[in-house]
Amino acid sequence: MKLFPILGGIHPEYRKELTSEKAIVALPVPKTLYLPLQQHMGAPANTTVDAGDLVKKGQLLAKAQGAISAALHAPTSGRIAAITEMTAPHPSGLPVLTIMLDSDGKDEWAEPMPAIDDPFAASPAEIKARVAEAGIVGMGGATFPSAVKLGLGGQHKLEILLLNGAECEPYLTCDDRVMREFAAQVVDGARIMAHALGAPKVIIAVEDNKPQAVDSLKAEAAKTPNVEVVGVPVQYPMGAERHLTQAVTGRETPARKLTADVGVVVHNVATARAVHQAVRLGRPLVSRVVTVSGGAVAEPKNIEVPLGTRVSELLDFCGGISKEARRIISGGPMMGQPLPSLDVAVVKGTSGILALTQGETNEHASSPCIRCGSCVTYCPCGLVPVEMASYIRNDKLDLAAKIGVQDCVSCGSCSYICPSHIPLVHYFNYAKGKIAALDRERRKNEQTKALVEAHNARLERQAQAKREAAAKAKAAKEAAEAAAAAPQANQQAQPNSAGGANA
């Protein structure tokens, strides 16, 4: 299959060999699970249980609220200990409402949702509803509710479901292992999703550094006519949605549009497996495969983890971390997020937990920019990071926006390559967040202004009505007086007196 080049990009040290040959092992269910109600993009889920309730594995704990949201299910059987605010697995460290579930040790399934035996005979809406019911979100890390994304077929004419098995982040091997060990589930899930989307073709793209995954997927794909497996070059950030679309189809997604606008929808391979389980087995999303790796981890592993497991327990399962651990990251080292504590939970978007040493992070204090232009050469989005960062440093966010800071995908290539170790992506993340915050404030101010103007106009109308009423009353009075031609003809009516009682 013909592939297309993508712009820029880097070749970091991948270090996938730490875990790539480690088969997925299941984590014993921890005593207590901590399930944040916000594990996805959009509105937090709404609890349907109370503290003290007994629940079975797979039972609904919180349902989706609003258009973009996702349901949450019990990863094991047990008792709801509390619903309380706890630190979110997010760099902000802000509190988030969390369900604490004490395991009863039985891990007993609730009655599963009825399996859809022939999904290809089911309507797309039915598949979509099942995916929503199962609480599936994008498991590559973006955590966008998958059901919403499966609805794109309604508004767009889609040609290709592109299944993203690139896994271009260093260290991570969870998708690799899923593709190798569950190729049949992945391919089946992908076909079901393609059916829901109305896309006639499935292309599974895997980076060339995972030959075994390609082989097992190809063996599965050979059984069906419309699924193709392609190896794509090893080049970070190949797994970025728009870049993968371009590499495989040659179509460039316009800025501020979706890949669906060029006829392609991209889903992660682990999401496909979750869809397979939800549709064929009626099982909701209650666990995921997590890569625990990094030079500071005693025994790196790929683990099937019940959602809500604390990171500290996961690390203990891997023999703990050594003193050299300098960074604890959720996700990959390029786009992953630092964790505020080791007591936060594994959530639906946690693809990896990495404990990295200084030797691996190679972080240094930044020195002055020497304008080497590497960031421009390696930016996969055609941006000029050096210039954007200098605008942002000088608080000229509008100029940074003008040259495209909002088109930055925060892939980290520029920061990685910078010889002066300038935290370029940090500047862009700050600018994007700040611009959005200022936009919200500006909208709020405009709204306030409109309300105030409406309020003042109403008061003005009321005053006007009073004046008119007063004038009318005065005219009537004068007319009466004139008609009577009474001796008190000189008496003046006070214009305000008519409205006074109405205040």
Partner: protein, 358 residues
């Protein structure tokens, strides 16, 4: 263990750093420099040492005045490149004070007055060279024919000390002009270039450096090798050197074909003067060249064109330094106008149109 959340990702970084980059450039310059030091003997060695020391002293002083850490500033290697390139651009037998004046202007004025590393608009080494060129034209255009070390005629250490630190050398006795200077002088006397060029060293001799000139002008193959090494190490890209040399070559060839009496040929332009050194080591200076590839192409073309114009029509025989400085001044504008196309947008910055076929 306490967890610091002081920055967002990425949490892995490449092995690249500023000093590694700078020292790679020095390594690329080393063979040509050693060859030239041998070629021009002890006076060149003394001048080289004086220039380097003067530049480092200026850097340390400026950084200290600015409240910075001189050790760290010297450690990044940027001032070594400035000093090194400056030394290569001076006549090898120039007196010590020319080097010191050039160093002060290069480091203190061109670099630190603009805010230090990364902030300067003009290439420091070229500012230093141009200042002494216009201030001390005699010393700056007195070249000697190469007298390699350990050959008869090469000055001894004692003689060299006199040349560099003492009375200098007798200008009338041994000074000659560089090939570019020679043909220019001859042309002003009415001798057409097509004739005078017969008297300059052959292109072959010019290749291996046996002609009078600054150190950086006389070892074309080694400079070229250093430049290719930098490209291989991805320190520089091909855009500036290729566009500059191609422009220079095309202009030379074209006008030589039109009027051989007044214009030297393209190959002569490439091999004489500081063309190769300028293309690979001076014009490619990170700080003072555009950051985008298209900007770099325009920058290189501009330098090639200006070099040819200055060599052909202006009063000075060599134009690389002036051309580089003039284009340095344009760099901010080139950066504004030559940006890469943003992913998903047209060149003008509008989002790409959504496909028509749906």
């Amino acid at each position: 263990m306490s967890i610091a959340i002081d920055k967002s990702g990425p949490f892995t970084h490449g092995p690249n750093n500023v000093s590694r980059t700078m020292f790679t450039v020095l390594a690329a310059l080393a063979p040509a420099t050693l060859y030239n030091l041998w070629l021009f003997g002890w006076p060149a060695i003394f001048l080289f040492i004086v220039t380097m020391l003067a530049c480092m002293a200026c850097e340390a002083a400026c950084v200290r005045i600015g409240g910075g850490n001189p050790d760290r500033a010297l450690g990044d290697g940027s001032v070594l490149i400035t000093g090194w390139l400056l030394a290569l651009s001076l006549p090898p037998w120039a007196p010590w004070w020319v080097a010191v004046v050039a160093s002060v202007f290069a480091v203190c004025l061109a670099k630190h007055a603009f805010g230090g590393l990364g902030q300067n608009v003009f290439n420091p080494a070229m500012v230093g060279r141009v200042v002494v060129l216009v201030s001390f034209p005699l010393q700056m255009t007195s070249f000697v024919a190469p007298k390699p070390l350990f050959t008869p005629g090469s000055p001894s250490i004692g003689e060299a000390l006199t040349i560099t630190f003492g009375r200098g050398f007798s200008l009338d006795g041994i000074s000659t002009a560089s090939p570019l200077g020679f043909i220019k002088t001859e042309l002003s006397k009415g001798v057409p270039i097509s004739q005078s060029i017969a008297s300059v060293p052959s292109l072959g001799d010019m290749m291996i450096g046996f002609h009078p000139g600054s150190m950086g002008e006389t070892a074309v193959p080694l400079i070229l090798l250093g430049g290719l090494f930098l490209m291989w190490r991805k320190i520089i890209s091909w855009h500036i050197p290729v566009s500059m040399l191609a422009t220079l070559f095309l202009m030379g060839t074209l006008f030589n074909a039109l009027d051989p009496a007044r214009h030297a040929g393209g190959l002569f332009h490439l091999l004489s003067g500081a063309s190769i050194l300028g293309a690979f080591f001076i014009a490619t200076d990170y700080v003072t060249s555009p950051v985008s590839k298209s900007g770099q192409l325009a920058f290189g073309i501009g330098i090639g064109l200006l070099t040819w114009i200055i060599r052909t029509y202006a009063g000075y025989p060599e134009g690389v330094a002036f051309a580089v400085l003039l284009m340095n001044a344009l760099t901010p504008i080139l950066d504004q106008h030559f940006r890469p196309r943003v992913f998903g947008r047209t060149r003008k910055g509008e989002p790409l149109p959504v496909r028509g076929d749906k």
